[in-house]
């Protein structure tokens, strides 16, 4: 049984390490903050901000010109100055994630990247939801096999009928 628990301990450690890597990548590349939090902190480093493009605020300049619009959260709004390719999903009343930094002089977010799709972060966690039952199922089976061997040994199953 000692080897069995050691083996499963190893599986658990590897699983936790993969989860930690996944979490680190999620926080580094996917997670975003709401506009209210962004305005509280006003970070000058680049962060991802989730909000909706306010109707009537989208102002597309000419080709290659910066695009300006207002992004709104539940109780706050912030102007966005975006310079980059005109993405197809940049529309009024559309929820977007803007990757940019706060410009304290202009009092706006300056961005060069618009992320197309909201992140649905729960999907990453769904990995765990679906893999944990499968792992427990296997763990339980292996444990049962190990215990059955012990029980059968105690019951002397392999002893012949004559000598029993």
């Amino acid at each position: 049984m000692k080897r069995f628990y050691l083996r499963w301990g190893g599986v658990l450690v590897i699983g936790v390490i993969i989860c930690l890597f996944g979490l680190a990548r999620y926080q580094r590349e996917v997670s975003h903050i709401p506009i209210e939090k962004f305005l509280d902190e006003k970070p000058t480093r680049a962060v991802r901000v989730l909000g909706m493009v306010v109707g009537g605020s989208l102002n597309r300049g000419g080709a290659g010109e910066p695009i300006q619009f207002t992004l709104s959260g539940t109780g706050a709004q912030v102007p966005v100055y975006y310079q980059g390719e005109d993405p197809e999903n940049l529309r009024e009343l559309k929820k977007l994630v803007i990757y940019g930094r706060w410009n304290p002089e202009e009092q706006r977010i300056e961005s060069e990247t618009i992320l197309g799709v909201p992140n649905y972060g729960f999907v990453s966690w769904a990995y765990l939801v679906t893999l944990i039952p499968m792992t427990l199922f296997l763990f339980n089976m292996e444990r049962k096999v190990a215990l059955l061997y012990i029980m059968i040994k105690e019951e002397k199953v392999y002893q012949s009928e004559e000598s029993a």
């Binding site: 590897i14 999907v123 059968i152």
Partner: protein, 237 residues
Amino acid sequence: MILNRFIRWLGRYEGWFGGGAALCIGIGLYMGLVTSPPDYYQGEVVRIMYVHVPSAKTSLFAYLVLFIGSIWYLWKRDPVIDNMCHATAGIALFYVGTALLTGSIWAKPTWNTWWTWDPRLTSFAILFLTLVGYLMLRTFLDDKEKEATFAAILAIIGFIDLPIVYFSVEWWRTLHQPMSMSVRGISFAPEMLTPLILMSIGSSLLFSYMLMVRTQMLYLERLLEAKQGRLLSETRL
């Protein structure tokens, strides 16, 4: 006899199957969660594919094993094969359940619903219910031989659903997307294909390993039952 010999031969490499599965799934999960890029349209949601597709494919393979095993049992009446079929059904149920669950999690952000009566989804749910029925049947009867025969017949009848599951996306215009990997070609970016292949290999190896462990477990349970029964009768005498 041939199948028995094959099972025994496979049993010798049990550890290799388990180790291989752990390695492939470990690397596949790392790549799927950390290094593979998000999809242009689906974003992060696409990552569920690395669990969903291998689970769905393995569950179909598992049912195919159950089907072949059931025919073999009805032909040869070999209790070892019956044990294997019983074990396969339990594992297949887990795989089908995982595929349904992950599909549902994927469907919510993509189709804006957890469930829809789409032909692929419905036929997969029927597969799930067939396996539940199979496992329930295995607990109803006292006569082990009758139980095995009826279960084998049910598994063979249930096999009708398998081609429906597989070809449903081709036969009907469904909400579920068509096959991304078929004889017509592969429509995947290489950065996504590598973790998907690793997870698929890992999932198949894990199924084989689980099958060996579960068959062993069911055999040992029967052995213990038989021994305890013998000891009990000796005590009574």
